[in-house]
Subunit: 185 residues, 2 copies
């Protein structure tokens, strides 16, 4: 009856793993990561550590592809190199704490967005202010400049807020407001 032999159990275990690997790989893909990198991270999630040759074997892609995927995953903080004395192969390990990957990915993304857009806004405001403060310019143009200026100025509230959000995630302060909880359902 319900009892399994070892071969069936191994298949069941692999099925369970593949289920989660598929889901993670699909959502990673939503995060601007290539399919290869997504599958690689999802696979590494179930492994302690891997070297490039083990990745080839598991994913079935070339060494070059693994090399670039691993670097991309390192850049967004999903994978770290681990130094193993005695082996000349590079070995890597996946960050398994999703709070850490969340922090790494979004803080990086948001900081980039804030600084890029805020720079543009500052520059634009300077130009617009010159128009607004110039008496000789037609009212129609000055009014348009004023409208844009006010809108851009309002947007700064958002960018400052996003910056604070990043800081509170980085510091862990946010978990005082929204604690990590083990919900039982």
């Amino acid at each position: 009856m319900g009892s399994l032999n070892d071969k069936e159990a191994r298949e069941k275990l692999d099925f369970a793993k593949d289920q989660v690997i598929g889901a993670i790989a699909e959502t990673m893909d939503l995060y601007g990561v290539t399919p290869a990198a997504g599958r690689l991270y999802a696979t590494m999630y179930f492994e302690d550590k891997m070297n490039l040759d083990e990745m080839l074997e598991e994913i079935g892609m070339t060494k070059a592809s693994m090399s670039t995927s691993v670097r991309k995953l390192q850049n967004i903080g999903y994978v770290k190199r681990v130094y193993t004395r005695g082996s000349r192969k590079h070995t890597y390990t996946a960050e398994k704490n999703f709070f850490n990957t969340f922090m790494s990915f979004y803080c990086q993304q948001w900081e980039r967005e804030v600084s890029m857009n805020l720079d543009a806004v500052q520059l634009a405001e300077k130009e617009l202010a010159e128009i607004i403060n110039d008496e000789s310019i037609a009212d129609e143009i000055k009014e348009e400049a004023k409208e844009h200026y006010d809108m851009l100025n309002e947007s700064k509230v958002y960018y400052h807020w996003l910056r604070k959000l990043v800081a509170s995630i980085r510091s862990g302060e946010i978990f005082e407001f929204l604690p990590k909880e083990n919900e039982e359902t």
Copy 2:
């Protein structure tokens, strides 16, 4: 001196606008939106409302491209249709409050991630539990199953947290913890 005529002022104003449009379009692109959709949203950000023909003119792309871009922007909550009586052209308006676009985009993305991954985790845990509770299976396999089970179980803390984050953004509760502030610098 330093005084501008109207033509120079108009150029200055357009330069200021283009600066911000460029920055927004570039970051939108980071958010999984096509270049066309990114440029379109950034352009609409400075307009009250637009119809498809005005978009063509401004962006210099085909009507089909605008149609699909607009729909994509509607899906992620960046653009809304606005009903203008008397005109048979469809008119649209950009959401100009970045708190709203933030909420719409990330809540949608995170909900999708949580439900997809949590579904896979639940299913995998059920399978793994069957292995763990089966006395007849080899210890080696059971131990691996147990390790995976514990890791997946731990990941649920993150998914529940992400769900709470979404709820607190949707409800506005998060702004009690991280207020919207007009910082002067």
